[in-house]
């Protein structure tokens, strides 16, 4: 592992040896964290055929990752309430450096780069104040530049809007504290929000669910090219109720909630893991690992267009003909008119599948 000084010295030499781009690593299409059969937690680069192009060890269980828009660099985030994030050089398979959350903060597991790649934004918990914050890091040397409020409690997933200037944040609403593990501390009063901030931290718009759904934690996001946001939820209320787990929102408009018919919705155990738009943007889907199913909806009219039984399915991303998905049983697959298994390596894929944006 290169030392920090070594890394900084390396940076000074970048004019001589430019940092290599994604093509240098055999062009992975996705990043995903997994538990490997030797017991190690690793971040893997996958192509659309399900081949693992590289895999790099993580200090503990991962959650999601962020891919640098140009350089073959990725940041893998700890599962909450972890305090590490590992910056990985995907050409050499080595750790470039490690981000440590500042005193009083822990990561939630998600982050995004700015469009030019110069900044990294991370969702974090200011746990003494029980408020969400967004950490801002300079990607030249991965030093922390500052932070600003996330606009709610428990920020989890975060996406950059197509304008490159706006962050969409899933403020899940649930208060936790590292001293009490993953115990949820505020369910009766929780208030999830979909928050839009500009990259300097100014609140542009706050979207809340109807009061009766205040226990529906907004956790994961997907953004369509035209700025339509999809959000996946996790129900913390009475399990006899089966509220929608997917919503759509466009800036300045009211939100739409999408659900399967009650008899099907009731099999999901109130839990959606990931959300994505199809490659062509015409449909949107959620993965439901507790219900062992993938649900697909038409964006235009919100109708359910497919229910696909898949055991422990969770990772989900857009594909040219629909979607790619991964499961906790090792499957890497593609969903077109139906699911197809591309590969099934001997590992357990963790929650998310992160598409790598390729320069056009």
């Amino acid at each position: 592992m290169p030392s920090r000084r070594h890394f900084l010295a390396g940076l000074a030499a970048t004019s001589l040896a430019p940092i290599r781009g994604w093509a240098a690593v055999g062009s992975p299409d996705y990043l995903a964290a997994a538990l490997f059969p030797d017991g190690s937690y690793r971040l893997a680069g996958l192509d659309t055929g399900g081949d693992i192009l590289f895999s790099l060890p993580l200090p503990a269980r991962g959650h999601a990752a962020a891919a640098h828009p140009h350089w073959a660099q990725a940041v893998a985030f700890a599962r909450r309430p972890g305090t590490f994030a590992v910056v990985i050089d995907c050409t050499t398979g080595t750790e470039i450096t490690r981000l440590t959350a500042p005193e009083g903060r822990h990561f939630y597991g998600h982050g995004v780069f700015s469009p030019d790649g110069s900044r990294l934004f991370t969702t974090e918990n200011d746990y003494e104040a029980a408020d969400g914050v967004i950490g801002v890091w300079n990607t030249d040397d991965y030093t922390r530049m500052g932070e600003f409020p996330s606009g709610g409690v428990g920020p989890h997933d975060m996406r950059l809007m197509p304008d490159g200037q706006t962050l969409a944040i899933a403020n899940g609403g649930i208060e936790t504290h590292p001293e009490t593990g993953r115990t949820k501390l505020n369910l009766p009063t929780m208030q999830p929000r979909l928050t839009y901030l500009d990259v300097s931290g100014t609140v542009l718009e706050q979207v809340e669910l109807p009061r009766a759904l205040h226990k529906n934690s907004i956790r994961h996001l997907a953004v369509r090219r035209d700025g339509l946001v999809a959000f996946a939820m996790q129900w913390q209320g009475d399990k006899a109720q089966h509220p929608p787990l997917l919503g759509l929102h466009r800036r300045g408009e009211t939100l739409r909630l999408l659900s399967a018919p009650e008899a099907v919705q009731s099999t999901l155990q109130g839990y959606a893991g990931s959300v994505a738009f199809a490659g062509d943007g015409s449909t949107v889907a959620i993965t439901c690992p507790r219900g062992n199913a993938l649900h697909r909806f038409s964006v235009a009219d919100g109708q359910l267009t497919g229910v696909f039984p898949l055991e422990d399915v969770c990772g989900l991303g857009p594909g040219p003909e629909g979607y790619f998905f991964t499961t906790g049983t090792g499957i890497v697959g593609e969903l077109t008119s139906g699911p197809h298994i591309s590969a099934r390596p001997d590992c357990q894929w963790d929650n998310h599948l992160i598409p790598i944006r390729k320069p056009a």
């Binding site: 989890h156 208060e175 009490t180 009063t189 399990k239 006899a240 969770c314 906790g328 963790d350 929650n351």
Partner: protein
């Protein structure tokens, strides 16, 4: 044909074969759950009566009734599904942890406005959950901050309103368990639980999350960090009940775990001796409000108790869960 059947059989977890869950489900419901909530409803009835007779915070009868009813709640507080979750009943009975100090704020607000909601149970049930339940009552009875705030007559009405509301919630949960018991014992395709496995999973989850809450939250919150212990965050410390809650919850969870592991005597023995160790540690602590976490010596003893609870959790998750054939995937268990 025989070969085909054998092939199918090995594909299933061995423990899932021909396990009849029915007797376990009935036993847990009839001997663990129903008596617990029935006892709670009796005790909250007595608590309401005591407050009607004498609403003085120092009344020995009122305080005794408070302790008895609170004991009964803690003994069922791991059963957080179904009837307890309707209309936030469990939170209305016990709003803790209160990380932002909502309970004293809610009580002060009611007292300073002399809010008339205390005169109608229906209206009081619409007020914030933070100002209701056992923790609100505890502050009214034991916190000097509320002993002379506002008007004495109003404080008396508030104490009575809180006890009536506690009783209403406890009785509603107890009544709903009549139907819910059937749902849990007789799963079906269109029912709340579609199979015996799902029903058993609910009970197993109650055991695991109950252990987690007692270890991580009941002990973890006051422990804080070594450099910054938080004795003022101990549960129900004002009435010296913090350690008692740990002990009572462990006793109730031991009963549940024994019933769930009844068909697997080795695991049952392991669990029972792990519970024994933890309960003996709790009983020998002699630190009712867990104030000892503030000293290094006291903290080590509380840490040892927490470790003993973690040992039970390990047996439950590595032995009992897999043996019961609880199907939980890598992602479906993650909760993130």
């Amino acid at each position: 044909m025989r070969i085909l059947i054998a092939a199918v059989a090995v594909a299933l977890p061995f423990s899932a074969l021909a396990q009849d869950r029915g007797p376990i489900l009935s036993d847990v419901v009839e001997r663990h759950i129903i008596p617990g909530f029935a006892s709670l409803a009796d005790a909250t009835g007595a608590l309401t009566q005591a407050a009607q007779t004498d609403c003085s915070p120092n009344s020995p009868d009122l305080r005794a009734a408070y302790h008895t009813a609170f004991d009964d709640w803690i003994s069922v507080s791991h059963l957080r599904f179904g009837p307890t979750e309707v209309d936030d009943r469990a939170f209305a009975l016990a709003f803790w942890p209160d990380t932002k100090g909502f309970t004293p704020k809610a009580l002060s607000g009611l007292i300073s406005n002399e809010d008339a909601a205390v005169e109608s149970p229906e209206e009081f049930a619409e007020t914030s959950v933070a100002g209701r339940g056992f923790f609100a009552l505890e502050q009214m009875l034991f916190d000097p901050k509320f002993s002379d705030q506002g008007n004495e007559g109003y404080r008396c009405a508030l104490i009575r309103a809180i006890t009536t509301d506690i009783d209403d919630n406890a009785r509603a949960i107890n009544a709903d368990w009549g139907d819910y018991a059937t749902a849990l014992i007789q799963p079906g395709d269109n029912a709340l639980y579609r199979s015996d496995d799902e029903a058993l999973q609910e009970l197993y989850k109650a055991l695991v999350t109950g252990l987690e809450f007692t270890g991580d939250t009941r002990l973890g919150r006051p422990m804080g960090t070594f450099d910054r212990p938080r004795p003022n965050r101990a549960e129900a410390r004002r009435s010296d009940r913090s350690l008692r809650h740990v002990e009572l919850s462990l006793i109730a969870l031991r009963d549940l775990s024994a019933r769930l592991s009844v068909d697997h005597p080795e695991i049952a023995d392991d669990l029972d001796s792990a519970f024994d160790k933890a309960i003996i540690r709790a009983q020998s602590l002699n630190d009712p409000a867990l104030a000892g976490v503030a000293t290094p010596r006291g903290r080590i003893r509380v840490e040892a108790l927490q470790q003993a609870i973690n040992d039970i959790r390990t047996i439950a998750s590595t032995k009992l869960g897999p043996t019961l054939g609880i199907n939980a995937g890598f992602n479906s268990l993650d909760g993130d």
